[in-house]
């Protein structure tokens, strides 16, 4: 009933291909955006900002980057964590070499470094396919982490070997570092995430997006109909690594506040991959749903025993958490292998047709 599309007539192709062919979608998105921009910041506590809102946004941005590569262009990547690291270290170096630089500009620039390295490790994808390609990104993963440890220039020869985020001001407001308030950080992250999401939606609907989808579905066939595979695959690696790099810079500068190399290890890569797959490969919405699940779940599980009044040792709780997350991943894959976004798609379909079954 809420989703009735009767009466929404399209009189030209332009209207039919618009971003929201069904006006309820636009209303729903508007509602979510109002929540994100107004309602959450007014009501959220410090704890909610730090454990839920900010990480969910950052993780979904990283998953969005991965989804461009794996979901849209069909190239499996297991090195997301390391590319996030490249973004973070690049941003750190930029802000320490040019302290006057606008931090948001630095964050957006640092994605370029990660894009460059992404393209280098993407070159093998022209020859190696499928699971064999995973080795290229795994090589990136392990090699880059090693480099973050050994190349002292990257962390300014700190004795600790970790990078520490300094206080960074923009237009007189501290947005990163120990003095920054959570609300400011949330707004900066939200602005960047909203912007990049909007760009991605349009990118995947356009020429490049169609090239990627053709490459994903069958790259030889795509080549035969005249798609330049090199351009398509390398662009996918570049765009994906750019977004992942920006997510990495946000991850350290606007959330963690400090980072050491093993923060970016393969566990992080897998976490992002989970988000992309559970959310749904080849969808934008899925990344947000997946991130809410994967980031939110441990928080809920951790507070559950307290609510129920059961006492569990924290180590045991952590082990139980891993176990439950593992089984939930399997559960979600069995229930809907195409992810949460597809689940929402099905529900929406039903709502549109309601009360008729077909």
């Amino acid at each position: 009933m809420l989703y009735r599309i009767a009466g929404q007539f399209k009189t030209n192709y332009r209207a039919d291909q618009a971003l929201f062919p069904v006006s309820q979608d636009a209303w729903l998105l508007g509602l979510i955006l109002i929540c994100a921009w107004v309602a959450f910041p007014l009501t959220a506590s410090e704890f909610t900002f730090q454990t839920l809102l900010i990480p969910i946004l950052i993780y979904s941005l990283a998953a969005l980057g991965l989804n461009i590569l794996t979901g849209y262009a069909g190239q499996l990547s297991l090195g997301t964590g390391a590319f996030m690291g490249v973004g973070a270290y690049a941003c750190y170096k930029l802000l320490t070499i040019f302290p006057w630089m606008n931090p948001v500009v630095a964050i957006l620039l640092s994605g370029l470094f990660s894009a460059g390295i992404g393209v280098v490790f993407g070159i093998p994808s022209l020859r190696i396919k499928g699971f064999y390609l995973a080795i290229a990104t795994l090589a990136a993963q392990f090699f880059l982490i090693w480099l973050f440890e050994k190349w002292a220039w990257l962390y300014n020869y700190n004795t600790s070997g970790a990078i520490q985020v300094p206080n960074v001001d923009m237009w007189g407001i501290t947005i990163a570092g120990p003095l920054a308030s959570s609300t400011t950080q949330y707004y900066v992250v939200l602005a960047i995430v909203t912007l990049i999401t909007l760009l991605c939606i349009n990118l995947t609907r356009g020429n490049l997006g169609r090239m990627w989808k053709a490459t994903r579905d069958m790259d030889i066939a795509a080549e035969l109909i005249g798609i330049n595979l090199m351009k398509s695959k390398l662009m996918a690696f570049a765009v994906s690594s750019y977004i992942v790099g920006v997510a990495g810079a946000l991850f350290v500068f606007l959330w963690r506040g400090a980072a050491e190399p093993n923060l970016f290890d393969i566990t992080l890569s897998f976490q992002i991959l989970f988000i992309a797959i559970i959310g749904g490969l080849g969808s934008i919405l899925g990344n947000y749903l997946g991130a809410i699940l994967i980031v939110g779940l441990p928080v809920v599980l951790n507070s559950l025993p307290e609510l129920l009044g059961v006492e569990i040792k924290s180590a045991t709780l952590e082990h139980l958490n891993i176990m439950i997350i593992g089984s939930l991943i399997v559960f979600f894959l069995i229930v809907e292998p195409h992810g949460l976004a597809r689940l929402w798609g099905l529900i929406r379909e039903k709502l549109i047709k309601w009360p008729f079954p077909h």
Partner: protein
């Protein structure tokens, strides 16, 4: 000039100057290579019979070893604990087939891959909840594995071969021979290979997919137990061992995903080369710890020239 000399001359001079040390390094590399090869073997078996890229193989190694030690700690004699662990591995194989694989038959490869990562996380959590997360001692002596060492003196130098390592190599060799014999000369083994060649054809001549999958996962579990005992007696048993699970991936890619020979050759090659590189190039020139990435870069380089790995089936693509 100095750099070129350090790269191309000095390491080889060092090798010739101390041949006994070189042999020791190669031996160490061979031993870890055998263990990599064993893990890769488990992968290959499952991949061949079901096209599932089983990421959980490395964790099954740790899980098997942990179960063995855990059962022994509960006061069960060593050999009965081994039997008990085999029982647990069988239960695991059956559960995985029943709960995870059967509902996911026919899904895209990446979904099945993710499912095995889900299994990995579950096993980590499950193992740690039951047996605790701390590092444990492998029950080497109780299993009757000799713990001394052979001391050889080639070229007037010194070469130490630990009995544990020798045993591991011998047992691994026997395991591989047994496996090849099983696959080639038994009814069940032929069924496994038939399933690998063509699922539908195999089903239509009456081979049971479910039985074979349980069987294959169980064999992978047995291999995991052997690997776990061997690796555990060198380094102790804990989930920190999972790093070797990642090492098996380049081994697998280097050898080719379908090939048993590939897994063995790939394992030995990577084991030896990464040790040599670390000792003669990595530590003096790059600040050490190059073992974390060398295998991956090596596999990547080989794949650039042979995209299907050294022994993999040639990939033929049709539109």
């Amino acid at each position: 000039m100095e750099l070129l000399r350090n790269i191309f001359v000095t390491p080889f001079v060092d090798m010739v100057a101390a041949p006994d040390f070189l042999m020791q390094v190669v031996w160490e590399g061979l031993v870890s290579g055998v263990l990599y090869a064993l893990i890769a073997l488990g992968f290959v078996l499952i991949f061949r019979s079901s096209r599932i890229f089983n990421f959980a193989q490395g964790i099954m190694v740790v899980f098997a070893a942990l179960t063995l030690v855990g059962l022994h700690e509960m006061g069960i004699p060593a050999w009965i604990a081994v039997a008990g662990t085999l029982g647990v591995m069988f239960a695991l194989a059956w559960t995985v087939e029943r709960v995870v694989l059967r509902p996911l038959v026919g899904q895209p490869d990446i979904i099945l891959f993710m499912a095995t990562i889900g299994i990995t996380l579950f096993l980590i959590g499950f193992g740690e909840t039951i047996f605790g997360g701390e590092n444990k001692q492998m029950i080497t002596a109780e299993l009757g594995i000799p713990t001394g060492d052979f001391v050889l003196e080639p070229f007037g130098g010194l070469l130490i071969l630990q009995h544990i390592d020798v045993t591991a190599v011998v047992v691994a060799g026997l395991l591989v021979v047994g496996l090849v014999a099983f696959l080639n000369y038994t009814r069940m083994g032929r069924a496994v290979r038939a399933l690998g060649d063509d699922h539908q054809a195999a089903l239509s001549v009456g081979i049971s997919l479910q039985t074979i999958w349980v069987l294959v996962w169980f064999i992978a579990g047995v291999i995991a137990l052997v690997t776990g005992i061997a690796w555990g007696s060198r380094a102790g048993v804990s989930f920190a061992l999972e790093i070797i699970a990642y090492k098996a991936l380049p081994v697998l890619m280097l050898g080719g995903l379908e090939s048993i020979t590939g897994a063995i050759v790939g394992g030995l090659l990577i084991g030896v080369l990464e040790k040599l590189f670390e000792i003669y190039w990595g530590a003096p020139l790059l600040g050490g710890n190059t073992e974390s990435w060398f295998a991956f870069v090596l596999a990547l380089t080989v794949l650039l020239f042979r995209p299907q790995g050294l022994f993999g089936e040639k990939i033929i693509e049709r539109v």
